[in-house]
């Protein structure tokens, strides 16, 4: 009885928070879900896509019972085993990532509410009515003001606390429950990201309801080093936008060059298309060591922890502008501006300045004072050759390289006057700087790399934020029927095996009429390649969310708009209510929306949580080779696994035997393999024969292109009936199917997992 009362009280609280009385849509079963509320959905996913653990460390060092050795079947002092420990780490990673985005969102909201008040309306333009698909689906709230976003972010904060609690020693003992919690964290992350980006769009007037956003300059050589240069590093635009405002208000914007590295660059170029995008995180150290930045302003997330040391080495001034990274610097937020400038210019001191207006004024003044005194020239080939002569090819640099290549060999070639190898290697460099730190002869490897770095400049399209509802109406049918073969989301960080891979993948799939969407560092590097006509992929392909389009969505937090588009397809095109209705949305996406994420250079915990959030929503993710170090994948075992679905029209459970999508989180070693996996992971049970034939056409043709001819060995699993076979391969596929004794099977009318596991959701809820 007391339990029932408690549940009722909780529900009343939730209903109050989400303004349940406003009847914009019927309320589904899980508004503001807590840890157990979507557990059954998770367990159903995990039954088919079992966690695959690759322990990165055999020990647990979290408490004073340890270090505990967990090798093989051993357990730690608390009873934990190696699999559960990996799952705990995955949850921790997801929580770190989710917290980073949510805190970013929370900070931006605070900043903007301070400026505009909580009643500032959310208006994303005439083409976007479903402004917040994640908040609507997960929280059950239709946010109308910045103040409403606070309700969503506070829900995320609360859940993060409960999830983090579960990682304390001696608690959760099931890897599957840890996975369910990680999936919960991933889902929350997309809510947090959505809050952050909606607030930014509203508060900073970013482009919205438009596809054709401005082209912005990309590349380190695009930065006009003859001017004072202010470089922003990180993710949070609260700083960079205020600096630009200051420069504009004081008529200084023509005199000062503003540029950024990592997502802050993307955010800044959404605010002002004159801001230059230097490049991804992997070029951060390289650019800082070039000394071109007079002032470096850091905010949060992907910024180097040794920034004060690096800034000093390069002779740049540093302002830490957010409390997430203060580097032990003196907090000058209350200090007199003139005095801060004096100490930065005369004494070469760095400061933390948490007042954005003050930080902006100081940055502008310091940059203008110190720029004329600084030498900002790229290294010459002769200088590089001279610096390289000390290399005796000891191999220490190779041993510490996270991308496992021998930069020493490139340096030795430079000493001989040959720059070809180091130019090639620059494409492999992930920018950590370990090689230089390890070099016993203190060779300035990053400086030498200046001669390897192309001085070419490129154009990229500024991030555009949410996909428009009008676009969803156009593509909803062809995506769910399969005639648009898929949405390929190439997202995230820059720990690439080779930086050139991204543009190649974008080009391949845009050419094949997939919809290609990009975010974060991947959006930048996609632009750092030109075709024979001198065009980047942003110039070569249209910017629409439609077949053959190449769409830059924006920074990390804009990833929520990609998953949001998948929800919008269910809500707008299929007219399924989304409010507090997560399972129905996720089930729809899993079975009907052929979307796949590619995080080819994922390194961050944010990438882990973004990907895990995609997985809970039914979107598979392909990761690059480094990502095996995340410790966990979600893999099926093809036909051996459970591919039963409910045919919602007939109310019958059908064993399809079709592994679609085959995996939820998957690592590929090479881009060639990834490009064969992408079309396969876009296959969905809902495909029409025409759509399936189009998807299989790409799967077979890419297999032939990269795997040495022939048919994929598993092609029979994806052919339901003869019309599924692509016309161009009809004869070959028919012969193969006949040879192996394939039998046709009926496509499922309305495939759903609802009804195949315990759920509060009735099967009829998926029928539109």
């Amino acid at each position: 009885m007391a339990e029932v009362k408690e549940i009722t009280r909780k529900l009343e609280e939730i209903h109050k928070k989400i303004k349940a009385e406003i009847p914009w849509e019927p309320l589904g079963p899980t508004p503001m879900p807590e840890i157990p509320d979507l557990r059954n959905w998770d367990m159903r996913l995990l039954k088919t896509y079992a966690p695959f653990y690759a322990p990165f460390c055999d020990l647990c060092c979290l408490c004073t019972y340890g270090k505990c050795d967990l090798t093989e079947t051993r357990r730690g002092g608390c009873g934990i085993d190696i699999g559960t420990q990996q799952a705990r780490f995955v949850l921790l990673a997801c929580l770190i990532g989710c917290s980073a985005h949510a805190a970013h969102g929370g900070h931006i909201l605070e900043f903007l509410i301070d400026k505009y008040g909580p009643d500032k309306k959310i208006d994303l333009g005439g083409s976007i009515n479903i402004e917040a698909p994640h908040i609507r689906t997960v929280v059950g709230l239709k946010p109308e003001t910045l103040g409403d976003l606070v309700i969503a972010i506070e829900y995320v904060f609360k859940e993060i606390t409960h999830l983090l609690d579960s990682t304390h020693m001696g608690q959760e003992g099931s890897c599957l429950d840890y996975e369910s919690k990680a999936l919960h964290a991933g889902m929350l992350d997309h809510v947090g990201m959505e809050v952050a980006d909606i607030a930014q769009i509203v508060g900073f007037n970013y482009p919205t309801s438009v596809a054709d956003t401005p082209m912005v300059d990309l590349g380190w050589a695009a930065v006009d080093k003859s001017k004072p240069v202010i470089l922003f590093v990180g993710h949070n635009p609260a700083t960079s936008t205020v600096v630009i405002d200051y420069l504009r208000e004081n008529n200084l914007y023509d005199q000062v060059e503003v540029c950024g590295v990592c997502c802050t660059a993307l955010e800044t170029s959404r605010y002002s298309d004159r801001a230059k995008v230097v490049g991804p995180f992997s070029r951060q150290l390289f650019f800082i060591r070039s000394g071109i930045a007079d002032v470096i302003m850091t905010d949060e997330q992907c910024i180097r922890t040794d920034m004060p040391i690096e800034a000093s080495k390069a002779g740049s001034a540093l302002i830490a502008a957010l409390d997430k990274a203060m580097y032990g610097l003196e907090d000058a937020s209350e200090m007199d501006t003139a005095e801060i400038v004096r100490q930065m210019v005369d004494d070469k001191k760095h400061f933390a300045i948490l007042d954005p207006r003050k930080a902006a004024e100081v940055a502008a003044k310091v940059a203008m004072e110190i720029a004329p005194q600084r030498r900002k020239e790229w290294l010459t080939e002769d200088e590089a050759k001279e610096l390289a002569t000390k290399c005796n090819v000891c191999g220490m640099c190779e041993q510490v390289c996270p991308n496992l290549f021998n930069i020493g060999a490139g340096i030795a070639e430079v000493a001989k006057g040959n720059f070809d190898l180091i130019r090639e290697q620059f494409n492999l460099c992930v920018g950590c700087g370990k090689c230089e730190a390890e070099c016993p002869r203190k060779i300035p490897i990053f400086k030498i790399m200046q001669i390897a770095a192309s001085k070419e400049t490129w154009k990229m399209r500024a991030g555009r934020g949410p996909i428009m509802d009008t676009e969803i109406r156009t593509v909803g049918a062809p995506i769910t029927l399969g005639t648009i073969p898929g949405v390929v989301a190439i997202v995230g960080c820059s720990n690439f095996p080779d930086i050139r891979d991204v543009a190649e993948m974008v080009d391949e799939f845009a050419k094949r009429k997939y919809i290609v969407v990009l975010t974060g560092c991947s959006a930048m590097v996609a632009g750092m390649w030109k075709d024979a006509d001198g065009k980047t992929v942003y110039e070569k392909y249209p910017p629409n969310f439609d077949m053959g389009g190449v769409v830059n969505i924006g920074s990390c937090v804009a990833n929520s708009h990609i998953t949001g588009a998948a929800i919008k397809i269910a809500n707008i095109f299929a007219a399924l209510p989304l409010r507090g209705n997560y399972e129905v949305m996720a089930d729809y996406v899993l079975n009907r929306v052929g979307a796949v994420g590619i995080a080819w250079g994922a390194y961050s915990q944010k990438a882990a949580s973004i990907a895990t959030g995609c997985n809970r929503l039914g979107i598979p993710v392909i990761l690059g080779p480094h990502s095996s170090k995340y410790r966990r994948l979600y893999l099926s075992k093809k036909e051996e696994d459970d591919w039963k679905v409910m045919d919602a029209r007939k109310k019958e459970i059908v064993d399809t035997g079709e592994p679609s999508p085959e995996h939820l989180a998957y690592v590929c070693e090479t881009k060639e393999k990834a490009m064969v996996m992408i079309p396969k992971l876009c296959i969905r049970k809902n495909d029409t024969p025409q759509g399936r034939a189009i998807k299989l056409n790409h799967y077979i043709s890419l297999h032939k292109k990269f795997m040495g001819g022939g048919l994929p060995e598993d092609i029979h699993l994806f052919v339901r009936r003869d019309p599924d076979i692509p016309l161009v391969y009809k004869k070959e596929v028919r012969e193969y199917l006949q040879k192996i004794g394939w039998q046709p099977r009926e496509p499922v009318g309305l495939p759903t997992l609802i009804g195949t596991y315990p759920s509060k959701v009735p099967v009829d809820a998926v029928i539109h």
Binding site: F52, Y53, A54, P55, F56, C57, D58, L59, D69, T71, E72, T73, I82, G83, E398, Q399, V400, C401, P402, L404, P497, P625, H626, S628, K629, L633, L635, K637, Y666, V667, C668, E669, T670, E672, K673, M677, F706, M707, G708, G709, G710, E713
Partner: protein, 183 residues
């Protein structure tokens, strides 16, 4: 426990159970020949590197042939094998074959039962080491062995960090000879 530090520091062992380092090709050949159902997993690095002008994939194919070991081609290795007119016994990507191998009831690439010895050759070392970690912890029913140039702590049997390619080449050639003799 060995104190050998892997060449690529990302693979440094944080645990207690590490690979037995073997430099003697005859001993390696003996272990391979003792196995009832070995499997040779080939990775894409074999297509990029040569020893003395001979692509590494050719050494790999010689090893497979000498000891009649079925091959699992990962990534785009199949394409090169087809070019060399050798059809791989199976094609899985590296995480897929490892996922299959860790199931003791899996019937192996020849449907004759799971493999008892798995040889890794040509997979990038961090990914390879992660894969070996999976099998070390979760596949007690099989042993693992590496043929790459460096030490892999998570394997059961590993080569040392060869300082020179010539040493590695000599090992591989001797291994092939020993396997041929044994056959």
């Amino acid at each position: 426990m060995s104190t050998v530090i892997p060449y690529h520091r990302v693979n440094v062992l944080t645990g207690i159970k590490s690979a037995r380092l073997i430099e003697d090709a005859q001993e390696y050949a003996g272990l391979i020949q003792k196995a009832k159902r070995p499997l040779l997993i080939l990775g894409p690095l074999l297509l990029k590197s040569s020893l003395d002008g001979r692509l590494l994939i050719e050494y790999a194919l010689d090893i497979a042939k000498a000891a009649n070991i079925p091959i699992c081609a990962t990534a785009q290795v199949r394409a090169k094998m087809m070019e060399l007119e050798v059809k791989p016994d199976s094609c899985y990507d590296v995480v897929e074959i490892i996922n299959a191998l860790k199931d003791p009831n899996w019937q192996g690439v020849k449907k004759e039962g799971n493999h008892d010895l798995v040889l890794f050759f040509g997979i990038r070392s961090d990914l390879g080491e992660q894969g070996l970690s999976v099998l070390k912890h979760f596949a007690p029913h099989l042993k693992t062995m590496t043929l790459c140039k460096y030490y892999f702590p998570h394997a059961n049997y590993s080569l040392p960090n060869f300082r020179k390619d010539e040493q590695w080449k000599a090992f591989l050639e001797s291994l092939i000879d020993n396997l041929k003799k044994g056959a």
